[in-house]
């Protein structure tokens, strides 16, 4: 029994079917959006309080259905005066255009292309007749709304808060979609396909696109528009989804009649967006009071579909695309979690909703009334034009010549050879913790369809949301909600005319599930609109504690103790005051990136040119930051590493807390090194700090660029010791000192995380004994014999793990476990059976601290996280096979992962066959490749013979020590898995005596099949005193970019924190007084 019942058309009376009728002059080969479908709106058009339905048809006439109650509908299109059989309907909107309290209908038409004629229509509601049938008159021209062009969808809202509704009109391009050209072309208006902004001037709509700052270029393939006050300043903002190469647009309302677009401005506030953007929805998914952005794309969940579909450009080509003036965007659904500080964390993979096939409309709505908004997705495409086999092998010469000659009726079957992807829609339940669970099979069932527009409404007035879907070549689907839902309150709005429906009103409900925010914007999903009323889910609560409604313009009103199960009408004339005149809460942190005259400049990552099969680059590791006093003046100085061909910087702190560069010439000599770590320490016990710098970066294989550099300190003057570490070179990852032999001087350990150009190969590390004068001897093999076969180490720490008074070595790296090498008195020995054995991860950092205040050393380890397509367990690991699969003398690193229980190579077919042409022999077509098992592709013997490394854990974790060196794993909370972690600040930030965590991370240089790990915008986790942590947004500072390291520094009399960021300037944080 499904939780939603799909009612039969014979029962409901809804027989509307958006049936296509391909013609030689108009089909998928002549109009790229031929299969994009039509919209649906739900609203009460005849004032009987029952929501009615209007469905849009592309090549069939639209249809209006009046709700007769009990899920019975009557088609009244003709009786109501709507005569709209021609043209191509796309999006539909409802709006009270003239402030008479009646809902009017605005219809977008694609026209002016390939014989498509017509213009947008405005059907003004003139009231219902005695039979309850609403009557309409078409009056678009009277309002200046008779736009003619390639319209997609209209969104009515009051952008200037003058009390009337203005209009954003989304249009779409038919420009050849692969020639991306320059991003700047978005500034050149195109009359047919450029977006429009219309200001409502006393009932006439004036095109103010240019003044408003709207992009109107021919590259805007607009398929989605969402309106929300994203920054909670009272002014509505807009999110525009553009298909293909053009960026999405995130327009922030400046409040003065203009918008500023964030994504094209190179802003770090939004990391990446959907590439092939379709519909979107803007709603708060985690009840934190901030509205989040969902945008849909076409990433298949089905592995065979994925592997037979066109993918993103490979990294080197993608880089060129970005350089042409575009922002990062990837083929995946995106969920931009609003941090409330003007920035967004994209967490769709973390949430489990990144891949829903070729998707059109996403609706965020609380379907089970548990107080969290769930997700419904429509999808399916009648012809998957990105099928690689069709492109390369099926669309043969004959077909092409016939298309080129001008298609005839007899040629129409050609379009039917394009593989259709008829797939079930998706529904996800919100788990309330940023994640969603796929409930398709139990809620709506797995019935395949080509589904486009959709809307939700309580059609049967039983207190839950039903779903209506406009399908291609199939009768529209009505899903009646029969879930065991929680309690609810229905809200309707009575606004001051002309905005009679209170469009733009924001409702804040304070519930047991958190602060639920709703906004009364009706254009949602794809080409569609929902009623201007709301259902608020209360789960098991019998009443709503309190509710605040804020009307456009800022007047507000509070309601308390509202019993569940009733309808509450909110009236704007009851509201008072200005909600937005309240002072904003002060931030806990102050951040600045201008204190140090240094910007880390990363050179272009060539990792993917050299090793196209790998998942991530290893060449963007710096900078590290070291704090120490070099001139013994008592003030802390800063050393920050430079990337390859960039000098490292030494900055001396002056008396006023200002920093000045020192010894620039000295470091310029070694600019070629990509420095990855350094250390201030007194190597020769003369009271002055030496500086030891290590280099790596996967750029060099050998030689001086990989040699540790010791700068000796002669009373404040540094000089490079050219005799130190001669003959020693390694791709170093971390360095620290330890008096290992307790002889009073400091010995050195340097770890390595990679062998350059050999992804995943086990590197060598170096433990160096100090003779007391700062001369070092390599004693690794004698002291830690097991270390050289252990694998890569990205970070390590010396700490007494087993409370025996001796320093043990804790290491973290890629493809290996977190490991403790126990101090035996004469050396170090790998410690097994301590709870860490199967912790193999892609570990980047390790900290040692007492997390639970029980007096021992716990571990905090930063990993890859869960915000990518990768998941790993003991049974379904990530695996690296290093082998010369094609026997050409060089080793291929084959990385596999599990997708729904199937082990599959990570690298794409295109990349694999370039390296190993024999794969093309066995599997020339993409389908054959996609269907082949790993053994069929590479041979069981070759896989067996390969050097194999595995990852079982991708989450960042705390490991709690039982005091004897045995550990219990406690993963960080969900938000802590939103990106890769490179460093932690582990300090008590809220003054409760327990150490909290600030997370430092993000990595942009990934295979384009993975996108980017860029979701951290500054995250602090509060220690819950039992070894667990929770997200503390109020303690979280704004940190954008690719963080690598955080250090505490005293500047003048201030305690500050300095964060090293890759390819950016260091960021300084201070707590507000």
């Amino acid at each position: 029994m499904l939780s939603f019942t799909r009612l039969a058309p014979s029962e409901t009376g809804i027989q509307f079917k958006n049936e296509l009728n391909e013609r030689p002059e108009l089909n998928i080969l002549t109009y790229l959006y031929y299969y994009n479908g039509g919209g649906v709106i739900i609203e009460d058009f005849n004032q009987d309080s029952l929501p009615d339905i209007y469905l849009g048809g592309n090549q069939v006439a639209d249809a209006l259905y009046i709700n007769q109650g009990n899920m019975k509908f009557q088609e009244v299109t003709a009786q109501s005066g709507i005569s709209n059989p021609d043209g191509w309907t796309t999006g539909i909107s409802h709006v009270d255009i003239n402030g008479d309290g009646l809902q009017d209908i605005y219809i977008c038409k694609a026209s002016g292309y390939r014989g498509l004629k017509g213009r947008n229509l405005l059907y003004v509601n003139i009231g219902a007749d005695p039979d309850g049938i609403p009557r309409f008159e078409e009056r678009a021209a009277d309002y200046g709304l008779d736009f003619s062009g390639l319209a997609t969808q209209a969104a009515f809202f009051d952008y200037d808060l003058d009390g009337d509704l203005d209009l954003f009109l989304l249009n779409h391009s038919v420009h050849p979609n692969r020639n991306y050209g320059k991003g700047t072309q978005r500034t050149i208006p195109d009359p047919l396909s450029g977006d429009r902004f219309y200001r409502n001037d006393d009932g006439f709509f004036t095109d103010v696109s240019r003044e408003a700052g709207i992009f109107q270029g021919k590259a805007g393939y607009g398929l989605g528009v969402g309106i929300s006050d994203l920054n909670s300043d009272g002014y509505p903002d807009m999110y525009i989804g553009n298909d293909f190469f053009e960026n999405d647009y995130l327009y922030i309302n400046n409040g003065d009649g203009t918008f500023r677009e964030l994504i094209s401005s190179g802003s770090q506030e939004i990391g990446h967006s959907t590439h092939f953007s379709m519909g979107n929805d803007l709603a708060d998914i985690n009840n934190d009071g901030h509205v989040d952005i969902l945008s849909l794309d076409m990433l298949p969940e089905d592995l065979i579909t994925y592997k037979t579909s066109g993918l993103e450009y490979a990294y080197p080509i993608y880089r060129q695309y970005l350089n042409n003036g575009f922002a990062p965007q990837y083929m995946q659904n995106t969920l931009q979690l609003n941090t409330g500080r003007g920035s967004f964390s994209e967490i769709a993979y973390l949430s489990g909703i990144a891949a829903t096939e070729w998707s059109w409309g996403g609706l965020l709505a609380d379907l089970d009334n548990d107080g969290f908004k769930d997700l419904f997705v429509t999808n399916g495409i009648k012809g998957a034009t990105n099928d690689m086999d069709y492109m390369n092998f099926i669309a043969n010469e004959d077909i092409q010549r016939r298309i080129d000659k001008g298609m005839q009726d007899a040629d129409l079957p050609l379009t039917r050879e394009i593989p259709p992807k008829k797939v079930p829609n998706y529904v996800f339940q919100n788990n309330g913790d940023l994640t969603f669970t796929d409930r398709t099979s139990t809620w709506i069932g797995q019935e395949p369809s080509f589904s486009n527009g959709s809307a939700y409404a309580d059609l049967d007035q039983d207190g839950d949301l039903d779903l209506l879907v406009n399908n291609l070549d199939q009768v529209a689907s009505l899903y009646q909600n029969n879930l065991e839902t929680g309690n609810w309150i229905r809200l309707t709005f009575s606004g001051i005319a002309p905005n009679t429906k209170g469009i733009g009103a924001r409702v804040i409900a304070y519930t047991a599930q958190g602060v639920q925010v709703y906004e009364n914007f009706t254009a949602r999903g794809y080409l569609s609109g929902v009623p201007g009323s709301m259902l608020i889910g209360l789960d098991q609560e019998v009443s709503l504690d309190s509710l605040l409604v804020i009307w456009p313009g800022g007047s507000f009103e509070k309601h308390q103790g509202i019993p569940a199960g009733q309808t509450l009408t909110l009236e704007q004339k009851q509201a008072r005051g200005d909600y937005y005149s309240r002072p904003a809460a002060q931030n806990y942190w102050r951040a600045t990136d201008t204190l140090l005259p240094f910007v880390h400049r990363e050179n272009t990552s060539l990792d993917f040119d050299r090793e196209p099969l790998i998942a991530y680059a290893k060449s963007n590791e710096g900078p590290d930051i070291s704090i120490g006093d070099i001139n013994n003046d008592g003030a802390q100085d800063i050393f920050v590493s430079g990337a390859k061909r960039q000098s490292a910087g030494l900055f001396l702190q002056g008396p006023a807390g200002a920093f000045s560069a020192a010894e620039s010439d000295l470091f310029a000599n070694d600019a070629i090194n990509e420095d990855t770590g350094h250390l201030f320490f007194d190597a020769d016990s003369d009271g002055w700090n030496e500086l030891l710098v290590i280099s790596g970066g996967n750029e060099f294989t050998d030689g001086p660029a990989l040699r540790p550099r010791l700068y000796r300190n002669n009373k404040g003057v540094l000089r490079k010791d050219t005799t130190a570490f001669t003959g020693f070179s390694l791709n170093a990852s971390a360095v620290d000192s330890i008096d290992m032999d307790l002889d009073g001087d400091l010995d050195i350990f340097i770890s390595s995380d990679a062998v350059s150009g050999a992804f995943g190969k086990t590197p060598q590390h170096g433990l160096f004994q100090n003779d007391g004068t700062g001369h070092f001897t390599d004693v690794t093999t004698e002291r830690i014999p097991e270390l050289q076969t252990f694998g890569g180490i990205d970070d390590f720490s010396w700490a007494d793990i087993n409370a025996d008074g001796l320093a043990d070595l804790v290491v973290a790296g890629h493809w290996g476990p977190i490991a403790v090498f126990e101090n035996t008195g004469s050396g170090w020995k790998y410690s097994a059976d301590n709870g860490l054995d199967l912790s193999n991860g892609w570990w980047n950092c390790i900290e040692v601290a007492d997390i639970d205040n029980d007096g021992d050393s716990d571990l905090i380890a930063g990993n890859w996280g869960l915000n990518s397509k990768f998941r790993a367990t003991r049974e379904t690991p990530l695996t690296l096979y290093r082998s010369d699969f094609d026997q050409n003398g060089s080793v291929e690193p084959l990385v596999t992962y599990y997708h729904n229980g199937v082990e599959t190579p990570f690298a794409s077919k295109d990349e694999l066959v370039k390296q190993m042409p024999f794969l093309n022999k066995k599997h020339r077509t993409y389908r054959s490749f996609a269907n082949a098992s790993l053994e069929e592709l590479f041979g069981a013997d070759a896989l067996k013979a390969a050097v194999k490394k595995e990852v079982f854990e991708l989450r960042s974790c705390v490991f709690l020590n039982d005091g004897k060196g045995n550990f219990t794993k406690v993963p960080l909370p969900v938000i802590g898995q939103a990106s890769i972690i490179y460093d932690f600040l582990c300090e008590d930030l809220d003054g409760d005596g327990y150490k909290d965590l600030m997370l430092i991370g993000n990595l942009h240089e990934l295979s384009t099949q993975l996108g980017r790990l860029d979701a951290f915008q500054g995250v602090v986790l509060r220690n819950e005193k039992d070894g667990t942590f929770t997200w503390a947004p109020e303690l979280s500072p704004p940190i954008s970019g690719a963080g690598r390291v955080i250090s505490r520094i005293r500047i003048g009399d201030n305690e500050q924190y300095i964060i090293g960021r890759n390819n950016a300037s260091p960021l300084f944080l201070t707590k507000h007084e």
Partner: protein, 456 residues
């Protein structure tokens, strides 16, 4: 006593019943044309880039030639003449090998190894095998055994040409900061193909850089600079000929010589590949035409294919060496950036650096090789592209065809003049070196080889 007549008749009947048929298997030049055509078709299907395609033609052609030369004193083995090739194994004296049949079998087998969709070769092969086996199983079996033995031998030699090793070498790095360097081009923005082709072992030239051409004019987009003039010339010519429409002679020339194995086309929402033959395939087609026009027998045909294929393979190595040395940006990128952002070349820009023009170098070299075999002023009608919807074009000589192939790249808007003029010279110089250093025909041999019909 039985009549001897009866006895004899009985023996004949007996033989007919018990022994296998033993008609001789006749192998004509057409057989080699068919096998070469099949390679071309499969390469079009499988999508082979031009340099890789030239390698696919070379090894099967050489295998066939070596078998033929072993049995025809008019031709000399390439042993010691092309890099690393040793004498192929010989069949035992008593083995009834049909050397022409063995040559075709070796040709097909090497082709099968080199392409991807093997079934497209094996289907073709098996139907022929069936015919031959029926006709004379003994001769067929011996020839097949020997042909495959030679194929194996040539394959082992081929393995040493560094092709496998270049697969794992680093991709070409696009340097987007240097405005003179090549960048991927619309609409597919494919990465630069075969950046390490100069590391492939050449056949006759001593190194990839032996025919290193003079460098292109220094990059300078100031109006009036030599380089700018070259860019502007491409733009002007393109505008001029497109204005005159698809019927203009220049557009016809550009399209005739396009020879781009993978042209990405967009129709509405659909993107697909228009797949055509490579420049090498076009010249193999011209070789076929020349052989047919002269009634060349199997042996001479084998010789012609081998010589043309070798010259072209070395030409690609030489050209690709220069392409990734000078690394020059394509006209399309510059014209869009500096002159006209909506300009599109008549032909789709292929995915590798501009200088020198590959088609020019290869056509130059192939024309020299064919002229050496068939003579100057060899007029022919080129119908190679008929299959791909293009007309027949007539030429008075191979040289004229090469010149037209070269200039077609400028009409096509994908090359500057310098790349075309220097390129065709680079190809001719290389071709002259190849023919001077290859002694394939035994000049002492009596006059010209007999034609097929005379041979019967």
């Amino acid at each position: 006593m039985k009549s001897p007549f009866v006895f004899t008749a009985g023996l004949v009947l007996l033989l007919a019943a018990c022994s296998q048929p033993s008609e001789p298997i006749e192998i004509m030049a057409e057989q080699l044309h068919a096998s070469t055509d099949r390679l071309t078709e499969v390469m079009v299907h499988d999508i082979f880039s031009p340099p890789v395609a030239s390698r696919v033609y070379a090894y099967p052609s050489i295998a066939a030639y070596e078998i033929m030369a072993l049995h025809n004193d008019s031709y000399r083995s390439l042993q010691g003449q092309v890099s690393g090739l040793e004498g192929i194994p010989k069949p035992s004296a008593e083995s009834p090998v049909n050397y022409r049949l063995a040559a075709v079998i070796a040709h097909m087998d090497l082709g099968r190894r080199l392409i991807f969709s093997e079934e497209k070769v094996t289907d073709f092969r098996d139907s022929l095998y069936g015919v031959w086996e029926k006709r004379n199983p003994k001769e067929f079996e011996a020839s097949r055994t020997y042909g495959l033995e030679v194929a194996e031998f040539i394959a082992a030699w081929m393995k040493g040409d560094n092709y496998d090793q270049t697969r794992t070498m680093s991709k070409f790095t696009v340097d987007t900061d240097d405005p003179s360097r090549w960048q991927p081009t619309p609409p597919s923005y494919m990465e630069g193909i075969e950046p390490h082709w100069n590391k492939i072992r050449p056949f006759v030239i001593d190194s990839a850089a032996q025919f290193k051409p003079s460098p292109p004019p220094p990059f300078d987009m100031k109006e009036g600079s030599d380089f700018y003039k070259e860019v502007k010339e491409v733009y002007d010519i393109s505008n001029d000929i497109t204005e005159r429409g698809d019927t203009s002679e220049e557009v016809a020339i550009a399209q005739f010589w396009d020879c781009n194995p993978y042209v990405s086309v967009t129709r509405g929402h659909l993107m697909f590949a228009t797949k055509k033959i490579s420049p090498g395939a076009h010249w193999m087609g011209i070789t076929k035409i020349a052989c047919r026009d002269t009634g060349s027998d199997f042996d001479k045909t084998t010789y012609a294919y081998a010589k043309a294929a070798i010259a072209m393979a070395d030409a690609f190595i030489s050209c690709w060496d220069e392409k990734y040395r000078s690394n020059l940006i394509r006209p399309e990128t510059l014209i869009n950036e500096y002159i006209d952002d909506s300009w599109k070349p008549v032909l789709q820009t292929p995915p590798f650096p501009e200088y020198t023009s590959g088609h020019s170098v290869v056509s130059g070299a192939a024309a020299v090789a064919l002229t050496d075999i068939f003579g100057e002023d060899f007029a022919f009608d080129d119908d190679t592209e008929l299959k791909y919807g293009l007309p027949v074009r007539s030429f008075t000589s191979f040289r004229q065809a090469a010149d037209e192939a070269a200039i077609s790249r400028m009409y096509g808007g994908i090359h500057y003049r310098k790349a075309v003029e220097v390129g065709v010279k680079q190809g001719r110089d290389l071709g002259a070196f190849v023919i001077a250093n290859l002694r394939m025909e035994e000049k002492a041999a009596p006059v010209a080889a007999l034609s097929e019909s005379q041979n019967k």
